[in-house]
C-alpha cells in the first residue's frame, strides 16, 4: 500500500521533472547554451496561467493556453535579448562565451523573479487543475489531475521524439547538435535552427511550468530551486542526452518521493544532491552522456 503510494505519486512528479529537463538538455545539445533562467520561464508560465484563469475568469483551459504562450514568449525574449547578443558580441572572447551566457541568463532569471514578485507578489499560487476529482489507481487515491499530468508529459515527450526523428526540421536539429559547421556548409541557416529549438524549448518548459503550478503550486521564490533541479537532472543524465535526462528525472523524482514519505518532507532534496555529487565525481559525463 505504502509502496504503491510512493510508486504512483512519484510517477507523476518524475514525468513533470522529465518534461522540464528535456528542453533544458535539448538547448544545450543543439546550441551549447545552459539557460539558468529556466526556472524563471517555468514560473512565468505558471503565474500567467493562474492570472488569466483566475483574475480574468477565462477558465482553466484558456488559462493554460495563455500560460504556455507567455512561457514561449519569455523563452524567445531570453534568446533574443540575452543569449544571442552575448554569442554575437565581438568584445567577448570566444572561449568565455559560456561563462557570459551563464551569468547573463542567471541575471535574466533574477530579473524575471523580481518582476513576478513585484507584479503578483511571491505568495505561492495554485492553478486550477484542468480536470478535478479523484480516482483509484492500484487502490491508491490519486487526483485525476496527477494522471493527466503524467499523460500530457509523456505525450509531449513522444511528440518531441517524433519531431526529432521523423521530420526534416527535427533531423536538422539533430545534425546541428552533432556538427553545426557541416550543417552551415550544406546551406542550412543555423540561426533559424536555433529559433526552432528555442521555440520547442519554450513550449516544453512552459507546459512543465503550468502543470507544476496545477500540481504543487508555483511562486517566484521557487525559481532558483527549479533551475537547480533541472540542471542537476540534466547533468545526472548526461548533458545533451534526452533519454539520459528522462532516466535521471525518474531517479530524482522517486528518490525525493521516497525520502519525503519515509524520512521527512523537509529533507526531500538532499539524497538527490548527494547522488549528484557522487555521480559527478565518479562519472562526470553523467549516466548516458557523451563527452
Amino acid at each position: 500500500m505504502f509502496t504503491l503510494q510512493i510508486l504512483v505519486d512519484g510517477f507523476a512528479i518524475s514525468a513533470l521533472y522529465g518534461l522540464g529537463a528535456i528542453g533544458f538538455t535539448l538547448i544545450f545539445g543543439v546550441s551549447g547554451v545552459l539557460n539558468l533562467a529556466h526556472g524563471g520561464i517555468m514560473v512565468v508560465s505558471g503565474v500567467a496561467a493562474w492570472a488569466v484563469a483566475g483574475d480574468l475568469h477565462a477558465g482553466p483551459y484558456l488559462g493554460a493556453l495563455a500560460g504556455v504562450a507567455a512561457g514561449v514568449l519569455t523563452a524567445f525574449a531570453t534568446y533574443g535579448l540575452v543569449v544571442r547578443p552575448i554569442q554575437r558580441s565581438r568584445a567577448i572572447p570566444r572561449d568565455e562565451t559560456e561563462i557570459f551566457v551563464l551569468t547573463g541568463t542567471l541575471l535574466w532569471g533574477i530579473m524575471l523573479q523580481v518582476a513576478i514578485a513585484y507584479l503578483f507578489s511571491d505568495n505561492p499560487v495554485t492553478v486550477q487543475p484542468l480536470i478535478g476529482g479523484v480516482v483509484q489507481v492500484f487502490g491508491v487515491r490519486t487526483p485525476r489531475n496527477e494522471l493527466l499530468i503524467a499523460v500530457i508529459s509523456w505525450v509531449s515527450i513522444g511528440l518531441l521524439w517524433l519531431l526529432v526523428n521523423r521530420t526534416r526540421a527535427g533531423r536538422t536539429l539533430l545534425a546541428a547538435s552533432i556538427n553545426p559547421r557541416a550543417l552551415t556548409l550544406l546551406g542550412f541557416e543555423l540561426s533559424r535552427i536555433y529559433l526552432l529549438v528555442w521555440a520547442i524549448y519554450g513550449v516544453l518548459a512552459a507546459l512543465a511550468g503550468v502543470l507544476l503550478a496545477s500540481f504543487l503550486g508555483t511562486s517566484s521564490a521557487n525559481i532558483g530551486q527549479l533551475t537547480a533541479s533541472a540542471f542537476s537532472i540534466v547533468v545526472l543524465g548526461g548533458l545533451g542526452s534526452v533519454s539520459g535526462s528522462l532516466i535521471a528525472a525518474y531517479v530524482v523524482g522517486y528518490l525525493e518521493t521516497i525520502t519525503a514519505y519515509t524520512v521527512s518532507p523537509t529533507l526531500r532534496t538532499i539524497p538527490a544532491l548527494l547522488l549528484l555529487v557522487l555521480v559527478v565525481y565518479l562519472r562526470p559525463q553523467g549516466l548516458l552522456g557523451r563527452r
Partner: protein, 305 residues
C-alpha cells in the same frame, strides 16, 4: 609599467581619502561602506579563482559561509574572537581543498554545478542542524569586535586594502601568470613544465583563505550569521556580478564593483523590490556592452584603438 605606477598612486590616494571618511560622514554611511568593503574582499577572492585560475565558482558563499559559521559557532562555544577568525579561515581553506578536488578533474559547467550543489548542501545542513546553527533564523554571536562604527569601518577598510594588495601582487607575480596560463590552456601549461595541479590547488586555498577571513570578520561586525547574509545563492550571485561588473582579471575592479553594487542597492532602497530589478538590469547591460567591466575597459582603452 608607468601605467601601473600611476594607478598605484591613484589607489593609495583613494584609500587615504576613504580612511578619512569617518571624520566627515554619519554612522549610517559608514555602516553601508563597512559591509561593502567585506563584499569587496569576497569579490576579489572570487576573481582570483575565476579570472586567473579560470575556474567558474558559482558558490563563493560555500567558502564564505564555512568561514562565517565556523567562527560564529566557536565563538558561541566560548572561544575568543581572534582564534575564531583563524578557525573560520582554516575551515574555509579546508572547504576550498574539498572544492578543488573535483575542479582538478572537471571542466566548465560540471564544476560550476558542483559548486552550486555545495552551497545548497551547506544551506540544508545549516537548516537541519538548526539546534546548533540557529537554522533559518540565524546564529546570534555573543561577541562583536567593536560597537563603534568608525572602528569597524577602519578594520574593514584596512582588511580590504591589505587583501587587495596581497591578491593583486599575487596575480601580477610569476605565480599569477602561471595560474592564468593553466586557466586558459591547462594542457599547454603542463607541457611547458608547470605543475598545474599544484598551482590550481594553491589558488583555491588562497581564494578560500580570504573568503573565510572576510566571512568571519563580517560575522563579528554584524553580530549574527544567517543563511540570508552569508550562504544564500543570491549573495554568491552578487559577488560574481560585482567582479564581472568591475572587470575580470583586475582584482581591483572586483572591489570597486562590489562597493558600487552595495551602495547602489542602498541608494535604490526606496524603490523596494524593484531595486534588485534595476541592479540586475544594469549588470546585464554591462555584460552585454562592456564585457571587460569598468576597470577592464579603462585599462584596455589605451591598448587597442
Amino acid at each position: 609599467m608607468r601605467r601601473t605606477g600611476s594607478w598605484l598612486w591613484l589607489v593609495l590616494l583613494a584609500l587615504v581619502l576613504l580612511a578619512a571618511l569617518p571624520l566627515a560622514v554619519s554612522g549610517y554611511i559608514l555602516g553601508v561602506l563597512t559591509l561593502a568593503y567585506y563584499f569587496g574582499v569576497f569579490s576579489m577572492a572570487w576573481d582570483l579563482l575565476f579570472g586567473f585560475a579560470g575556474e567558474v565558482n558559482f558558490g563563493p558563499t560555500f567558502l564564505i559561509g564555512l568561514g562565517a559559521y565556523a567562527a560564529g559557532l566557536l565563538n558561541t562555544a566560548g572561544w575568543p574572537i581572534p582564534l575564531c577568525i583563524l578557525a573560520g579561515a582554516l575551515a574555509a581553506v579546508l572547504g576550498g581543498v574539498l572544492l578543488a578536488l573535483p575542479a582538478l578533474r572537471l571542466r566548465g559547467p560540471y564544476f560550476g554545478l558542483i559548486t552550486l550543489v555545495a552551497v545548497l548542501l551547506l544551506q540544508q545542513a545549516i537548516v537541519i542542524f538548526a539546534g546548533v546553527t540557529g537554522g533559518e533564523i540565524g546564529l546570534t554571536i555573543p561577541d562583536v569586535i567593536s560597537v563603534d562604527a568608525g572602528v569597524n569601518y577602519w578594520i574593514a577598510l584596512g582588511f580590504m586594502a591589505i587583501s587587495g594588495f596581497l591578491l593583486f601582487g599575487l596575480a601580477r607575480s610569476p605565480v599569477g601568470l602561471i595560474l592564468q596560463a593553466s586557466g586558459q590552456d591547462a594542457v599547454e601549461a603542463a607541457a611547458l613544465g608547470f605543475n598545474v595541479t599544484k598551482h590550481k590547488l594553491a589558488a583555491f586555498c588562497i581564494s578560500a583563505l580570504f573568503s573565510g577571513l572576510a566571512g568571519a570578520l563580517l560575522v563579528f561586525y554584524l553580530g549574527t550569521a544567517s543563511v540570508g547574509t552569508v550562504v544564500d545563492i543570491a549573495v554568491g550571485v552578487q559577488v560574481i556580478i560585482a567582479a564581472v561588473l568591475g572587470g575580470r582579471r583586475t582584482i581591483v575592479g572586483a572591489a570597486i564593483g562590489a562597493i558600487f553594487l552595495i551602495i547602489a542597492a542602498e541608494a535604490l532602497r526606496p524603490l523596494g523590490q524593484l531595486s534588485t530589478l534595476v541592479v540586475s538590469a544594469v549588470a546585464l547591460l554591462a555584460i552585454l556592452f562592456l564585457p571587460d567591466g569598468v576597470v577592464g575597459y579603462l585599462l584596455h582603452r589605451g591598448r587597442t584603438p
